[in-house]
Symmetry: D2
Subunit: 375 residues, 4 copies
């Protein structure tokens, strides 16, 4: 019989909604020991929170996130507030000895990420950071293929996360443009870095270039007043992995026309992989040594032979959607909580990701290669 787990959610934007959906569906999709209940939601004020509770199906609402953390019926803290607010919330949750499920990027600064990680580790708290694209069954297959040596030793990776939601110079300034911890390198760059680390392990060194394409933005939608933007819109990195592979990682939110191009191509000595989140139920695999005249990239489509697919649908090729990855993420969290293991990627991994992001910032500022271990 499933045990109840009270969920407290802070924030009700795009990601808050995705969390709510995931918590609500996960028990139907997966067989779980812990059954989440949408206990309490916090937002900027009581009214916003009450509306969110109604929309997202939470039992109660509060305008005070600290009350949420303290609430005895709340067993798990889910944080989807802007990045610069994470630290205070996370530390409070840790102090309350409650597991934390935090949206990415974990922190505005590397120091904060380290502080949060140290606190959670000291308290023995389970943590999970919402790099949901890693939960895509096809991403898991890619990792299996690489880890199993199916494409040999990895030679190179070219990766990118490009979207265009800031392509319009009149898109208003947001917390994502915060000089502390903002910019596309943190927002989308962290996704491609997380994927690179997930697939190929530690990144040893980076050489990067960051660029602010639109130097000012309106302070609000349609506002005449503009504020200077100092964070990056477009970023490119050379990377050397500890394992020897080399390559490039790019991030852009001004890539006109791209909506979800989180993509990579990885070449190994015995094969290659190509993937784009634009068609995230597909993975292209080339294996050396195929029959001459019949060789080529095979397009694998996600199906029940892959991790975490079958609970959604027993039929192959029917496809998962964006929100389903969040369901898998929540499943991983709840399973770890039930088993007393640490979910992945936790704060430690998120801090490693952030270290690469910070190395890129330093490299771009100084115009030199930066060893990630020195950051």
């Amino acid at each position: 019989m499933a045990r109840r787990l009270g969920v407290g959610l802070i924030g009700s934007g795009f990601m808050g909604r995705a969390h709510a959906l995931a918590f609500r569906s996960v028990g139907t999709v997966f067989e779980l020991e812990l059954q989440p209940e949408l206990e309490l939601i916090a937002d900027v004020d009581e009214a916003a929170a009450a509306a969110a509770a109604d929309a997202l199906g939470f039992g109660r609402a509060t305008g005070d996130w600290q009350a949420l953390i303290a609430d005895p019926a709340v067993d798990l803290i889910a944080i989807t507030a802007p990045t610069h607010l994470h630290r205070e919330m996370v530390l409070a949750a840790v102090a309350a000895n409650k597991p934390v499920y935090c949206e990415k990027p974990l922190a505005g600064t590397l120091a904060h990420a380290r502080e949060m990680t140290a606190a959670a580790e000291a308290a023995g708290i389970a943590t999970l950071v919402g790099f949901n694209y890693l939960k895509n069954p096809i991403a898991q297959v890619a990792r299996e293929i690489i880890a199993g040596g199916e494409i040999g030793e990895i030679v190179s990776m070219r990766g990118v996360h490009a979207e265009d939601y800031m392509a319009d110079p009149d898109a208003p300034i947001t917390w994502r443009h915060d000089p502390v911890g903002g910019g596309v390198i943190a927002d989308l760059g962290s996704h491609i870095v997380s994927l690179a680390r997930y697939l190929l392990g530690d990144i040893a060194e980076v050489s990067a270039t960051l660029r602010t394409v639109h130097g000012s933005r309106p302070v609000a939608p349609g506002a005449a007043e503009r504020r200077a933007v100092t964070t990056d819109d477009d970023a490119h990195m050379l990377v050397r992995f500890a394992g020897g592979a080399e390559g490039t990682l790019s991030a852009s939110w001004v890539a006109t026309g791209r909506k979800m191009q989180l993509a990579f191509e990885i070449a190994g000595t015995r094969g290659s992989l190509a993937f784009t989140q634009e068609r995230f139920n597909e993975l292209k695999l080339y294996r050396a040594g195929q029959e001459p005249g019949r060789d080529g990239f095979t397009t694998i489509t996600s199906g029940p032979d892959h991790p975490d697919y079958a609970p959604f649908c027993p039929a192959p090729g029917h496809q998962l959607g964006f929100n389903d990855m969040k369901v898998i993420e929540v499943k991983a969290l709840l399973t770890a909580l039930a088993d007393g293991t640490m979910p992945e990627p936790g704060f430690a991994e998120a801090t490693e990701i952030q270290r690469v992001v910070e190395a890129a910032r330093l490299s771009a500022g100084e115009g030199t290669w930066i060893a990630v271990q020195d950051v």
Copy 2:
């Protein structure tokens, strides 16, 4: 404030599960007047039903579908049992004056479909049949494009629904091979017919060929005993639409390698559309009169500018999954129930679809064109 609607679900297989997921998520995704509650589930016996209730989150379970229909806390009857059982269940639900949400195909015979439709219409019952692919936002866009004259007068449609789950000659015989109402023309053919009608309207005439590729199948997985199969594995139709367009529709469950190829290409005098459910968040649109040297098919990816997408995700290109279409279907049902309108496609439309399927069977049997109105 949302009103409660008690859902009674009959059947807990692939589709039962999809229904449960949809009813569970729909209230979080969409703002609804009616809030479904997973009240009662019925399966072949008490034990199976109890297990299903536990897995899918229903409050109560029963081994008796008639009890489910009679249950006062059940306001809506959802039927995902095998096709040949639909008639009795539907008629009971109608007699109980409860709205019915039934999986496709509606009935094993056209006579039964008509009987069910007449009963529901006489009782003024709301009905919905689960042709979920019609709820895909991109399919809705395709219909808008055609209905709005954006590609001119429609000249032709080539459509197909091909999968390979019966490609193995040792895949066992199932109720889908039932001589009454079975075969791929009913199972998958009905999907491409429903899509053809949804997009282009009435089909006036068909000439068809149906073929049983594997003449016998094991009676159960791995069984040595085999039974003769008399229903079709592979079907092809010429069609003439009432509106003048002509073309072909095919259905196959022995299309080795295809997992979800529900696809069409529609040519109009001013443009064309191409689609496949294998990449169901994309629609290819060609419009005549583009700038010379810059013309081509545009790949539209689903996004918040399209019907029913934004409630899942505010960002374009992030993609819906298979189960999300079921959520939209349930939303359409609940909205219609709240508004007192008739959801679409209801029994009447399902009967029209079945009429085309029956015309195809007759055509194949007699080797002649069959006018659908004569069926």
Copy 3:
């Protein structure tokens, strides 16, 4: 040492030019016993022919095709004149005992095709009809795969040849609209029929629908005067192959947006093939029995492991172009002439293709299935 072969070309339009290019390049691409020389070109009058000779590199020109056939320096007759002129030219060439390389379709009527075939066979003349898409290395690979049983027994084929060069209702009437032998079923339909026969063998029966979408067209570009069109713009067929496979074949020259969609999907009991001439250096192959979780369609790209590719380029994936297929066709012709064998597809095969086209016309006219052997 290569022996000289004098080429006489009748016609200098699109196809005449392609012939000239092919004859000019073939000896550099392939090692040949017979070295073609562009000896003489005939066109509608002396002036046109002289201009064509200059443009296409022919040594001499004539306004009289009969003189060309009679010319002692001309060893091979290449015919690219409109279809309705083929018969007279072919019969004259055969009478002159010269091999004939004729563009498709071979004749305006089946009776003419038979007459030409009989004459050529009686004279023992080598003939080749320009179904150039069959010479694509990837089409040859597809045939190898099927013939070698690599995808098992063939279950179905869905094929199409769709373009849009007549989509504009003001595109003028041409000889392709000639009530004798015209229409899209002859022009493009013959291509998909030739491919179907090349891959799967004899077509036993057809049920077809032909439609004239634009009932009149200008008599010349921009002309106010219009003439009624009685030939088809859009055609669809159900087909039954002698070998048991079934399926659909479509042809359209009003498929707005399509420029070169000669495409097929073929399903066998052990695999499938998918192809479109829009990307004619690629073939998608699925083979049953692949490793679970790694299976999918493999995209084979043309390369030196495939027939007739290496002489163009030793590197795989560098791609052949449209004109290269004509070079391969001419190579096949010259090799057969050197070896004293009969090139394929010759008049006999072209007549078989035309028989299917005629069966489609009869079927559409009578509204019944037509057995091809009865035509």
Copy 4:
């Protein structure tokens, strides 16, 4: 009336053959003032040259390339010998006052490239270097789109040229591994650099990483003896364009499975372009400001509305092949020679390309950004 131009070709490998084919076809495809004649071919010795002359259709052969340059019937020197031989040949040709058509890369060292450029400029000699991919009509369209401002100001470019012909560690060492001027950065890197410059102009700075993946290779096919390889197999660059755009360029000949991935994605403030030579008759174009709900990348297929396509084929979408780009290249050369203008890309441009390659080598060696103007 076309004037004769005697062509002398040095080398008869892959590229020699491509040159021969192009010179042979160009006069049929394009209307030209100068009509090339395959006058004389030189190879390593008389026998090889004689065989090549026979295979490729040259009138005469020689084992002495100096004799070829001196030959009075030779008006144009085409060089397809290994890179390290270019300098001596080019300088001799320039001394003989004959235009030079040289394969890429121009020289083994930047100093040599400069010397050759200076000599040619001093002599007023027309030169062309064989960056044939720039002649693809679709590449020309991409340039038009960018130059015309159709996608706004360019923000970023991600480019790659990846193949796998050295992926096998037992592929033998060749002149392409020559420590002077070799490695993938010179061989394939020069292609993507040429394309980057062709589309976006000068590259100001680079930061690069070069890696030798396979440290030794057999001295000959199948040989047991191996020699150390010191040149790079896999290369990645960050680039800053003088115009402000930033991005990455990669080159690899160990990209297992890739046969011809010369690809780019370019984002501008008003649109984007995506291209891969693997489907080089297609260009994907996104333009900002499309109708909401109907926007997306448009796949443009090459056709007669694009530069240099119509002479090959009047019909759109029928596709050019690899050798056709060489025909366009030769057309550009012959047209310039006839007009007395300088063909592009000539030695000066090839030297600029080489400067970027050299900057990448320096950057990789020193681990710093390198300003191209300082090289």
